[in-house]
Symmetry: C2
Subunit: 336 residues, 2 copies
Amino acid sequence: MTEQTASDPTSKSAPVLSLVEEAIGADLIAAEQVLATELDSTNPYVSDILQHVTRFRGKRLRPMLLLLTADASGGIRAAHHTLAAVVEMIHLATLVHDDVLDEASTRRHVATINARWNNETSVLFGDYLFTHSFHLASSLETTHACRAIGRATNIVCEGELSQIKERGNLDLSEEAYFKIIDGKTAELTALCGYLGAHYAQADSRVVTAMERYGRQLGLAFQIADDVLDLVGNERKTGKSLGSDLQKQKLTLPLIRLLAKATDVDGHALRQLLLHPDETTREKLQPYLDRSDAMMYAHQRALQLAQDARQQLEAVAPSRSRRILAEIAEFAVQRTF
Amino acid sequence: MTEQTASDPTSKSAPVLSLVEEAIGADLIAAEQVLATELDSTNPYVSDILQHVTRFRGKRLRPMLLLLTADASGGIRAAHHTLAAVVEMIHLATLVHDDVLDEASTRRHVATINARWNNETSVLFGDYLFTHSFHLASSLETTHACRAIGRATNIVCEGELSQIKERGNLDLSEEAYFKIIDGKTAELTALCGYLGAHYAQADSRVVTAMERYGRQLGLAFQIADDVLDLVGNERKTGKSLGSDLQKQKLTLPLIRLLAKATDVDGHALRQLLLHPDETTREKLQPYLDRSDAMMYAHQRALQLAQDARQQLEAVAPSRSRRILAEIAEFAVQRTF
C-alpha cells in the first residue's frame, strides 16, 4: 500500500519536484484545500490528530499523478481537485492502518498515531479518513467516481489481506507476488491515471492508457521498494530497512533467489528466512551477491517503467507528459 | 457502535421477531443476497473470513429498521434491499474493528477474527467491509445515498474517537455522553430511518420523523446497554458484563451516581472507577442500590423510546408501524 520514502520519485533530491511545482503547483494547493475542508473538525481531539498526521505525509505522489495525467489528457477541472484530495485521503487511511499493523513507532521521523495516542485511535482515525474520502467523492455530480473508487479500494484491501495470508510462505510464486502488489499498490496509482484522464473528458483509448501508466508505475515502484528493503542504505534512505524480512514477506528478489539457488543454498536460505532476526539482512548479502536476483528484479522494474512511459504516447506531448515520463524513469533509477 | 445482545430487541426471546418475519422476511432475504453478492470473493482467504463472520452476526437489526420504516412510509423498493445490505456491512465493519479495539476473543460465542486469525487481518477485513459498503452504495442511481452514508459514517467515527478520548474522564457531562452515543450508535439507526423513508418517496415530514425514530431508538438502546453492563445478569444476557468499567467508559448511570453522591461516597467511587478490576462491578452495587442512578437512566431510556414511538404517528397505521413501535418498547423493557 505504501511506496516508501527512498524510492519516492518526489523526494527532496528529485529535480522533478520543481517541474511539478511549476506545472501543477496551484492545483496541488487547491486539492490540499479541499482535503483540509473535508477533514476539518470542531472536535479538538480529531483536529489534534489531523494536525499531527500532516507532519508525516509525503510528497503527495497520488494527487500529483492524478493532476498530471489530467493535465496531459485534456486539462485540469474542479472535479480533479476533489478527486486528488480523495486519493490522498485513501492513501493516508492505508498509511495509518499500516502503522497499526506494523506496530510502527515512527514514520518520516515523526511519531505514528499508535505511538503518540494508541492503537484504538489509529484504527478509528483510519476509518475516519476512509469514510471522509467516500463522503468527499460523493460530492461530485454522478456516482461514477464513487464506483471507481469503491472498486479500487476493494481491490487494495484484498491485496493487503492476501499479503498477510502469504506471510511465511517461501513458495510464493512470482505470479502470486505480482497479484499482491497489483492490488495493494498499483490499483491506487492506476485509479489516479484513470480518474485524471476520465474527468479530463479524454477518449477511452487515452483513459485506458493513463490507467495503465499508473498501474505499471505502481508495480515498478513497489519492486524498487522491495529491492531497497533488501540492499538499500539505511542512512541514505532515511528509514529502517529489512522490514519485509522481519515480517516474512517474500518479495521479487527473494522469490528469484530461492528459485535459482542450489539445493544446499536453498536449504540455508529457507532457514534464514523462516527465523528472521536483525542479522538476517546481512547474512543474505553473500547469497544475493552471487545470484542474479537483484538484477532480475531491477530488470522487471525497468520493463514496467518503460511500459508506463510508452502509455504516455496516447497523449500529445506536453510539459505534464514529460514530467510523468520522468517520474517513471526516476522511480527505477533509485532502485540501487 | 454496537448495541449488545442482551438489549437487542430481536433476540430469540422477542416475539416481535416472528412478526418481522411475516412482514418483511422476503425483503430481508433479498437484502442478504445483495450483501452476499457484493462480498463474494474468489480469494479463498477472504471467503473463509466472510464465512466465519456470518457466524457471529446478530439479527440484522439495522436492515430490519430500514426495511420496516420503508414499508411504513410508502413501500419497499429494490433500492431498499441494496441500502439494507449497505447499513449491515457498515455495522459489521464497526463490529470487526471494535473487536480489535477491545481485544475481544469471542462475539456471540464465536471466536473473533483477531482471535482466529490476527489483528492485522481484522483491521484489513474491517476496511474491506467499509470499502465494499461504499462500493455497493454507489451502485444506486444517484449520489444521494452515498452522501448520506458518507456523512453518517463520518459522525460514527467521530463519536467513537470521542469515546476513546474520554476514557478515564470521571467528569464527563451528561451532554458529552449523549453526544458520544448519538454519534457512535444513534447516527446509524437514524440513517436507517432516513434512507427507509426517503427511498420510499415519503414526503420530507415523514422522512424527518423516521430519521428521528431511528435516532431516539438508538439512544434508548445504548442507554439500556449501558445499564445492563452495570447490573445485568451475565448468565441471562449471555455475555461478559462490566466491560465499560474495565475500559473506564463513563455511562449515564455512573454520571448520575457521581453527580448525586455525597463527598465521602464520591471520593470512594472515584477511587473504584479509576482503578478497575474484576471486583469493581460488585463493589459498585451498594452505591447503585442507594442511589437513583439506575432508575434515572431507565427513565431517560423510556422517554427516548416514547419519543421514538411518537414519531411513528407521521405515517398511517400499518403492520410495519406496529412492529416499529414494539421494537421501541421492547428495547427498554429489557433494561432490567
